[in-house]
Homo-oligomer: 435 residues x 2
Amino acid sequence: MLTEPPSGTRDFLPAEMRLRQRVFATIRETFERHGFEPMDTPAFERLETLMGKYGEEGEKLIFKILRRGERGAQGEADFALRYDLTVPLSRLFAHHRHALPRPFRRYQVGPVWRADRAGRGRYRELFQCDLDIVGAESILAEVEVIGTLAACYHAVGLPGVTFHVNSRKVLMAILEAYAVPSEQIGTATIALDKLDKLGAAGVAAELTERGLSQPVVAAIAADLASADLDSRARARAGASERGRAALAELDDLCGLLAPVLPESTTTRFAPFLARGLDYYTGCIFEVYHPRLPLAIGAGGRYDNLLSSFAAETIPACGGSFGVDRVLLLLQEQQQAATVGRSLVMVGVFSDDLRASALELARTLRSDGIPTELYCGAGQLGKQLKAAQGANVTCFVFQGPDETARGEAMVKVLATREQEAVPLGQLVSRLKTRLG
Amino acid sequence: MLTEPPSGTRDFLPAEMRLRQRVFATIRETFERHGFEPMDTPAFERLETLMGKYGEEGEKLIFKILRRGERGAQGEADFALRYDLTVPLSRLFAHHRHALPRPFRRYQVGPVWRADRAGRGRYRELFQCDLDIVGAESILAEVEVIGTLAACYHAVGLPGVTFHVNSRKVLMAILEAYAVPSEQIGTATIALDKLDKLGAAGVAAELTERGLSQPVVAAIAADLASADLDSRARARAGASERGRAALAELDDLCGLLAPVLPESTTTRFAPFLARGLDYYTGCIFEVYHPRLPLAIGAGGRYDNLLSSFAAETIPACGGSFGVDRVLLLLQEQQQAATVGRSLVMVGVFSDDLRASALELARTLRSDGIPTELYCGAGQLGKQLKAAQGANVTCFVFQGPDETARGEAMVKVLATREQEAVPLGQLVSRLKTRLG
């Protein structure tokens, strides 16, 4: 029978898991220090909760769950695995909106599932660490979200990230300036969002394919290919009142952000950044690191998503820390690929002495020393070998002689030292060895 | 649109979530102190990995995932949500068996999914905290698993639990003593496992329904209805050599356990305990608390499960801490229903002073004070009201006067005190307030 995990999902063995736990703890601590509260939602939602939220590309990637019983046998699905943590938050907030504070600042850490093609940094089960501020119209919400994420990259030991920042409103103004007809703005956006992947010529080809007129494609292509793309885009957006207001808002955001961000963190105006998800309405951003061509974080403002669950308009803004890709970079950096073990193994001299071995383990544990009791077969020699295989720091046992003298034998595996230690000094001696 | 979570699943709001995080942290800490290492597997597995492992009742409750694309549209499933953490562990161990130590002691914390009827303490998304020792034939593995679980109930503040202990081998010997034909042992076991739920008469009726002969049912029913059921069962098991060996093993286990268990924890011989899952082979147990008629923990030995994934027999033993039901009991106990907040909100005096409010928040955070910056609309009065609604400890702001004097205004929400604090003393003053 196949024993690897399903394609795009991963098993985490202890050494890697310890690193993950350490990084997740740092993220939680950073989020809480920035005034975000923990929250959780189920792994699956009603199918209709998720449909119509992620755009045509996203929707195809939703994992659907068969109904139980008769209707499942006919292929009917009722639930679906969550695709992100933003839509579940919106459903939850709508449900509890009279009990929750406004603004509501929450974070949520957990897996989401996307039936995407697997590859380096691309998973079908990926972990997100999201933070959102619901009920906040001020641009300060964007500053808080981006500032907290930036603090996270810094705290986990990944400096040098860049926030690519744009606004859906700027993008709309630019497209209007190109005279893209309003019914083609959606399809044009999908093509433009691929600029990093396809390059200027590729985007132009895709725009043509998607039915945009030749003069429009030519104007866009000329700007995309130019060396001062950003200032050209700025000029396009500045052609309309709405575009100027959107640019001013983005400048305000970047101005407020500058003193908040850690030293190694930069922001960059990315006028063609669109973000695939349907629900964004204002500022949008993605985070990049020089060593990975995929975003390691993203987010934005979604002022209308809540209104699909509640009979009122509730502004909201949030972001997601791409912990799996950050861990990939940290592991490639070698500096923290795994986290070691630090514990004691108690050996069992003979069946007669099982109770005293258990008592020894109990004592060490009650003094806070991580201790495993050997539960396999075999004599001390085999046990010691198992201790080596398990990366144990010290192996401790009591034979009849040690018991008679009120001692325990301690073997330090790294140095092969061995010493008989009086029981009264055992805990402090082991604590020194464990460091 | 419906906004509650799907039936049998739950949203966790911050106050409850903080309690859950605290309890989960205690469990992890206890597991690690007992020499178990963290590990994780995906939420879903290949359908064939899970089939044939949980018995006929269990298998019906597996959530299946539709294939993507064409074949999904035809109702075909390829993956399924994990039903427990034991089968995924077995698959993982088989896959990595040449790299992992033996015995391999791991723990895993995470949700599993069962399409069960929802009710008090019954969830369709439930969280398990499992610990297992793979590659350990010694009864010491059972002692370690049960001892660690017992330490967990104690550590999270739920004393007074009882471990109901049996062995599949004892149960087999008892059924043989009743002359249950070997082909009816499976079906008889399912009926006997319902003794707590159905009572003696109910089990007798179900045994008859399941086709057991009248003399057999009469003998079983007489024992079940008797006041000294346990000693009668003991006598039945003791009628065969294998039964006596199985009883001796169970006595050995209980003898070794007694000095290890915390004071308030007891064990009880439960001769008709069967555990529904197919994979158990030796010692089995369930954990109960007087205030809940459902098991709050369970486990046992499964020496043959690994061989369905690896071409070798690998003994294993494990247990599961029923954290959701434990949390239910803790919450009903009222002593720890929620965990409060302890943080500062920085108010924004005016748009002109946004940057200085951000700087104030940045300073407090860098000194380790959990701080949220107000991101909603409205003047200070409205902000203060929002701070009250968000259970903030202190509200801090700087208007032009405070800024000129190098001070910040601090309002303590619980006492309505207000004082101007020089910036140099602000951090220490707030730390005192936060406690």
